[in-house]
Symmetry: C2
Subunit: 117 residues, 2 copies
DNA sequence: ATTGAGTGCAACCCGATTGTTGCACGTCCG
DNA sequence: CGGACGTGCAACAATCGGGTTGCACTCAAT
């Protein structure tokens, strides 16, 4: 009814929440640069503890932006662009929706003064 | 250095923060549907107080997603798709960046074992 | 001028996030 | 085997965000 197909909204929401944090975005950048890395290694590149990194990676994982593969005693995290792609599509369709409605409203703006009951 | 032109990052960040909240997204949907509305009117459509709406609108405003025009004694808020557009573009370029780097890494994965010092 | 609707500001509450530290558990290597 | 490295879990402190309530102020209309 709004602009979203009702089912994918929560997924998009979690991606947006994940991207809202600067440290998390930085983490994604590091992964994009190195391809794959462990939490410990990543903690060396950022001014926070390893545990903080682990938590951020968990958020990114449940948002579908990252995956962790266990290799021996370490866990190697890598990027997963699918979730980002979906959110990008959602956003641009939302933008298109706004444009459409704004055009319609602007056109009929002088006709009706009140919209609510 | 990362993937962003260094200046627009903060702006994009604020848009992402703004979009991360479900109530705020709902608010944007209402504005898209009605074209313009006051905080008091919007509070009638959502299960939160007017003050909460005012705060959300402030966040959306400083993210560039919404503008408030004073008409007499009331403030009419309306949509401003420009910020959303910019963020959409940023996200898709980020996705493209990831894809590019992931391809490069996957291609050279067998050659180098360690990336860090 | 007085009343009422609409807004702005401030204090306050509470739950979620972000971050820390400490320690226990696997796992590789000398 | 036994130490060293990496991870996982748990408790904890502190800050942030969303939400509420109460009150003062502005503007319009009678």
């Amino acid at each position: 009814m709004t602009a979203e197909p009702d089912g994918a909204v929560e997924e998009v929401g979690s991606v947006l929440v994940a991207l809202a944090d600067p440290t998390r975005r930085q983490l994604l950048d590091l992964l994009a640069a190195h391809g794959a890395a462990t939490a410990t290694t990543l903690a060396g590149q950022l001014p926070v503890s390893r545990q903080a990194i682990v938590k951020h990676l968990a958020v990114l994982d449940s948002a579908g932006l990252v995956v962790g593969n266990r290799v021996g005693r370490e866990v190697r995290y890598s990027l997963r662009p699918a979730g980002l792609d979906a959110t990008t599509r959602w956003m641009s369709s939302l933008a298109a929706d706004w444009d459409r409605r704004l055009a319609a409203i602007k056109h009929a703006a002088e006709a009706a003064e009140r919209d609510f009951s």
